[in-house]
Each structure stands twice: as C-alpha cells, then as structure tokens.
C-alpha cells in the first residue's frame, strides 16, 4: 500500500497537496483498495464553498458507496472532469488523480491533518 511523501492526510483517507493557496484533494491508496473497482464519482459544483470535514462528493464502487469529504475549508475552483469517463483512474493512480481543487480559506486547517509518517501509523492501527 502506497503512502506518498509531501502530502497531508485525513482520518477519512483523503490526501491534500498544497500548491500556493490551492489545495488539491484526492483519496489514498488505502481508500481505493478498500472501495474496490470505482464505477462513478460525483464531483462538487464549481464555486461551491465548504467547511473542513464537509461532504463534497460521492465515490461509488460496485458494492459500496463512500462520501468524499474535504479536509480543508475553501471554494472549489476546479474538478477532475476525466473522472466522469474513467472513474477507474482513481483505482490505478490515486495520488495522481485529484478529485477537486479548492482555494483554501483557512490554512490553519492543515495543522489538523497528518503527515505521511503519522498516516502510515494510523493505517496500521486501523488494520488491527
């Protein structure tokens, strides 16, 4: 199971890549493996605003459905349109495929997230 360096992680198995004042958000390898083959991704509307922890979308696999939360507060400035035709890309390349990009409204949200080492430990504990 892959955990990438340089990203922030939430307890809901989302990752955040910070680029300036933008946050790219996606799901981790743990999440995609747990979900199984992803068949559909419901992405948020552009310009919609969310608080950290809010549900911004839905990820459906054949046998399960999972809410997608944003670990940071902000406004949606971009979504990954490619996921509409190729939802399976999230399985193949979870860290390379973001789901949405938010313009962050409160950088302090990042302080509540884990780094890759902490996330690795978190995942080990979850597996027990």
């Amino acid at each position: 199971m892959e955990i990438r360096e340089g990203l922030y992680y939430s307890e809901d198995h989302e990752w955040v890549r910070v680029e300036g004042d933008r946050a790219c958000i996606g799901i981790t390898d743990f999440a995609q493996e747990h979900l199984g083959d992803i068949v559909f991704v419901e992405v948020p509307d552009l310009d919609s605003e969310f608080e950290a922890g809010a549900t911004i979308g839905v990820i459906e696999s054949v046998k399960a459905v999972s809410d997608m939360h944003t670990p940071v507060s902000g406004k949606v400035v971009a979504v990954n349109d490619a996921l509409e035709d190729s939802p399976g890309a999230l399985n193949k390349d979870p860290y390379g495929q973001h789901i949405a990009v938010l313009a962050m409204s409160d950088r302090a949200d990042l302080d509540k997230l884990m780094n890759s080492a902490d996330y690795a430990a978190f995942c080990t504990r979850e597996a027990e």
Binding site: V62, K63, V65
Partner: protein, 440 residues
C-alpha cells in the same frame, strides 16, 4: 395441515444430536414472562380439502367480471389476459424464486427483467426503466421525490385531473417533509395550462401530467405545460396508460423527464386492487438516482453476454440512510406478466388493442348521445369518458340489476371505461339501461 417435512421421530433425533431435551429448550433465550403459554386463538387447522371448499365458498360470494361486463375503470381495467400469461407465470422457477442477487443462478429472471425494461423504454420512448415499483400511485410519489431530490427544490404541481388516489399517495409520501404537493384545479376536464404556467417558478421541482387523465381525456395542452416547467428548469413527470401507448405519442416524445404509470392493464388481473405494477422510466441524466432495481448487461469470465442487478449502490441495502428510496421487494412477477403480455400482443397487437378500445368508446359515446345523454367534458378521449348522469348511484344499481358492472361514480356523472373485452351487444345494453334512467 402444515408443511414441516420432518416427522416427530426425526425431530427428536435432531434435538438429541444437539444435546437438547425437548423443543422448548430451543426457546430458553426468550424470557419466561414473554412466552405465550397458550395456543394462539385461531380456528382449527384445515385439510387441503376443507380449505378448497371454504375458499371456494368465500370467492363465490364475490361477483366476478367473468359473469358480467365491466365498465369500471378509474385506475384498474378489465383487459383481456392471454392464457399464455397465466400458464407461464405458473413456472415455479419464476414464482418461487427470490430477487436475483446471485446472477449465476438467475440468468432467466434477469434476462426477462432486462427485456421488460426494454419494452417499457420502447413504449414510453425513455432512456431507461427500472424493474418495477408497487403501483402507479406509489411510483408517481417516488417520481415526485426524485424530482425534488435532483432539482434540490421541493414543490410539485399536480393538476386535479390526475387520478385522485395518486394524489393521495403522493401527499402521504410528502409527509416525510421533503416535498410539497400542490394540487392545481383543472379546467373543464383537462389540466389548466395557464394556471400551471402562472404557478411554476424557480421553487418548482416538477409538474405532473396524467395522459390520458383520470377522466379519460387527452391532455391537449401538454406542450404549453412542458414549456412552462422546462423554462424554469424543473422536470416534467408523466403518468400514462400503457395500453394507450399502442396508439398515442409516448411521453418521451413530449419531453417527459420521468414516467410513472400503472401497468396492471398489461397482463395482470383486477385482483381487487393488487398486486399491481408501477412502471418507472426516466432520462439517462437521472440514471444514478432512479429508485428500484435495475438489470444491466455485462459479460462473464468467458466473455459470454450475461445480466446482473447493477448500480446497486443507489439502493437501500448499500446506501442505507442516504438512499433515495427504501424500496426492496418490488412487483417482479407482475412485471414478468407484463413482459409476456407485451411479447404475445406484440408490436401489431398492442396497436390493435388500443385502437379497439378507442373505437368501442367512440361507439358508446355516439349511442349515448343518440339517447339524449351527453358527455360531461367535450374533450378528445382514449378509452374512458364521463357521461353526465343525475344520480350515478341509482344508475349503477339499475345497471347491476341488468347484469352489468357500471362505472365509477363522480359528482353528477359516471366514468365509463371501454376495453377490448367489450362488444356491441354489451354497449347497447349499457346504453339502453342508462337511457332509461331519469336524467336532466
């Protein structure tokens, strides 16, 4: 008489093998105070012979439409059911089966439902159809709910030319607090397009139109209604008579977003109101939100075409409290009856049946008018219309005495339905009796 196959000796041996002394040990986990320490107060058991006799007697106390021509419609219709339908439904692999969750064992049923879905799509000219809902009324209620959910609005406008029972059911479902059903008075037997257009705004999730409507009339102002709701980015929900679709322009061609109708007329008996068949179809855009089961096509490991329940993540067993609908069991066997019926009627047959219904209705209208009776509404109709009668109750009593099951009583009128089972002789007698009843 019961159906437990193990004789008492075997039951004893099974108990012993598990270390139990007696049957009561199996209920040791039920607190003594809760155990019913008496026999249920029910009548003595019956042998099959006694059952046959008693049920036969009870059934004989009802007047079946076999015995007399039935002009009752108002949401349930005495259409002809081919013998083939009844026989095939007795195949026990169909009727004793459960929901086809294990596709390897259920390809037959899954294929039948896929074919049914296809037929409904073709009849209604919609992109997709589900595997059935409980009936036309509850299907319409769920259509309203879906419209509210997908538009994120809560008002649904329903003309009172829609079946009043459908409206009742939609109102009950609205008790969940997620939608508001607003009835809009009709105008001379059809929906009032101007009134609807004036009420449609950005809070309107959908407008419902039943076509032909409850009074049998074609909703001739449909185009205006469709424009009004779509201009405001709401949805058009249509409830339709499936038999009429052998003749009439289908809802998809009218721009309907959701279709929810009563499918009883397709191969299902009157059965005192149930089980019936709610058919439900929608545009592709709504695919991932439609309620109910969906059968999809795929392949197996050997590349063979196969069918499977799909998009199950919409449903209650996966989405649970986030599901759009709680529907689990549906009306699968009734849908199968409809599919067999449509296969037997076929492309030409359904057209002929629809044309025959309309032809007989027109004949009845002409004959009634010759006798000085007039229709309540001067509107084009399909197979049903309301004839003005001063005392509909008295008229029905007179009809019953003459060996006819009359119409549905409205205020000052009788709603009469004409299916392909009716004929000239029956209609002549109907007209004769109604002509003889005291009228304005």
């Amino acid at each position: 008489m019961g159906y437990v196959p193990n004789p008492p000796r075997v039951v004893r041996e099974m108990l012993e093998s598990m270390g139990f002394q007696g049957i009561d040990d199996l209920f040791a986990d039920i607190p003594a105070g809760l155990r019913l320490n008496r026999e249920l107060n029910l009548e003595a058991p019956r042998s099959e012979q006694e059952l046959r006799q008693e049920l036969g007697q009870l059934a004989a106390r009802n007047t079946a439409v076999d015995d007399r021509p039935c002009f009752l419609g108002a949401g349930a219709y005495d259409h002809y059911i081919p013998a083939v339908v009844e026989q095939l439904l007795l195949r026990s692999e169909f009727y004793t089966a459960y929901t086809p969750y294990q596709p390897e064992l259920s390809q037959g049923i899954l294929q039948a439902i896929f074919e049914y879905q296809t037929m409904i799509c073709n009849l209604t000219a919609m992109d997709l159809a589900n595997a059935s809902m409980y009936d036309g009324g509850s299907a319409l209620a769920e259509a309203c709910s879906l419209a509210c959910d997908t538009t994120r609005r809560s008002r649904v406008l329903v003309p009172d030319t829609v079946n009043p029972r459908f409206l009742d059911v939609a109102r009950t479902y609205a008790g969940g607090g997620k939608m508001e059903i607003v009835a809009v008075p009709g105008s001379d037997g059809i929906a009032d397009a101007a009134a609807i257009a004036s009420l449609v705004d950005s809070r309107t999730a959908a407008v419902v139109v039943q076509h032909p409507n409850f009074y049998g009339n074609l909703e001739t102002d449909l185009p205006a209604i469709e424009k009004a709701i779509h201009d405001q980015k709401g949805l058009l929900i249509m409830s339709v008579d499936p038999i009429s679709l052998g003749l009439l322009k289908p809802p998809g061609a009218w721009g309907a977003d959701i279709v929810a109708g009563e499918g009883q007329a397709l191969g299902n008996p009157l059965s005192f109101g149930g089980p019936y068949l709610g058919f439900f179809a929608a545009t592709e855009k709504l695919m991932r939100k439609v309620p109910g089961r969906l059968v999809g096509q795929t392949v197996d490991l050997d590349g063979q075409r196969a069918f499977v329940l799909t998009l199950q993540t919409r449903e209650q067993h996966i989405r649970r409290e986030k599901a759009g609908s709680n529907i689990c069991s549906n009306e699968a066997l009734c849908a199968l009856a409809a599919a067999i019926y449509l296969s037997v009627a076929g492309r030409e047959g359904l057209k002929e049946i629809a044309a025959r219904c309309h032809r007989l209705a027109c004949y009845a209208r002409d004959e009634l008018q010759k006798r000085g009776l007039r229709l309540k509404y001067q509107r084009p109709f399909f197979k049903e219309f309301a004839v003005a009668i001063r005392d509909p109750g008295a008229a029905n009593r007179a009809l019953l005495e003459a060996g006819i099951i009359g119409g549905y009583e409205l205020g000052g009128a009788l709603l009469l339905a004409f299916t392909e089972k009716r004929n000239r002789t029956e209609i002549d007698r109907l007209v004769s009796v109604l002509g003889g009843v005291d009228n304005e």
